[in-house]
Symmetry: C2
Subunit: 177 residues, 2 copies
């Protein structure tokens, strides 16, 4: 048996779409709707007036925020194929949002049923992760990461510099399969 390489994959903005949820709730509370183009241009907190930023940040601490989030296009199909050739772990910094535990686990069961509970990690500081690759939308998670960080493009990181970046799951497929 050859040892499979291991990929650690983040959830929010990588496989699950939390950005759209921010937008839905903001519309519900303030009656303002952003276009998909606007949503794609920068992190959601940067789209709203400064006085609303704390309210928007609070959303993620609400128990319903992470329920039934959308799936980032291509992630289901590409991760299923990666799963044949790599050990896949889902590594999410959920520890900051204890209300997210149950919905995140349910969401993974619904959309990625082939990922075992043994391969799901709720953590904070991701330097604790032992993997060869990490696909994540936050470069801060790569800072002390032992493997290769792969920055997954999200609205908030468009202008962040990082040498290995992918803009879609199709690009992950091309890089790793």
């Amino acid at each position: 048996m050859t040892l499979m390489k291991r990929i650690a994959i983040d959830m929010d903005e990588v496989i699950s779409d939390a950005n759209i949820r921010f937008s839905e709730w903001y519309k519900r509370d303030h009656g303002i709707e952003f276009t998909l183009e606007q949503l794609a241009s920068s992190g959601f907190a940067d789209l709203v007036p400064e006085e609303h930023r704390p309210i928007v940040r609070e959303y993620a601490f609400h128990q319903d925020f992470f329920k039934d989030l959308g799936v980032i296009p291509g992630s289901k199909e590409v991760i299923k194929d990666l799963h044949e050739k790599y050990e896949i772990f889902i590594t999410t910094a959920a520890m900051e949002f204890p209300y997210s535990f149950t919905p995140k686990l349910q969401w993974l069961k619904d959309h990625f049923p082939y990922i075992s509970w043994t391969n799901i990690v709720f953590c904070g500081d991701k330097s604790i992760i032992n993997a060869d690759y990490m696909i994540d939308d936050n470069v801060r998670n790569f800072k002390r990461f032992m493997g290769q960080g792969i920055l997954f493009t999200a609205p908030h990181n468009r202008n962040v510099e990082w040498d290995v970046r992918v803009n879609s799951w199709q690009e992950v497929r091309e890089m790793l399969l």
Copy 2:
């Protein structure tokens, strides 16, 4: 700044006493009480009649099981001192027991308030942990662990072979401080 070495520390039977909870609930349900000596002699499931083992295993899936567990003697004091010289992460295979998430987090806040949420990890397969040492009561967690596994003596592992074993938190202090 020199880089601190990192210790990953398990919860059940290492810092929290789940064994006593099994015993309390078994007494409640079956009226049979074990002595501390009996409890220390082997894993709880091995003390009860074979037909009761599945019931005992179910206990850990109940939402109250992990609430207000006792603290393993010495762990508070020794980990506080280790915390000055090492990076400490709590790494618990909680993913199998989703009901344990909230009580485990609360328990850590109550008894180890100096451990930040960033340094708490709920996982399954512990080979995902990047650390120098792992203090754990299950040798299966050392199998693919990149660092040195330190077996913490618990009733169920008395007869397990492992080259680095500690019988108490005092012995951890002597080994690592």
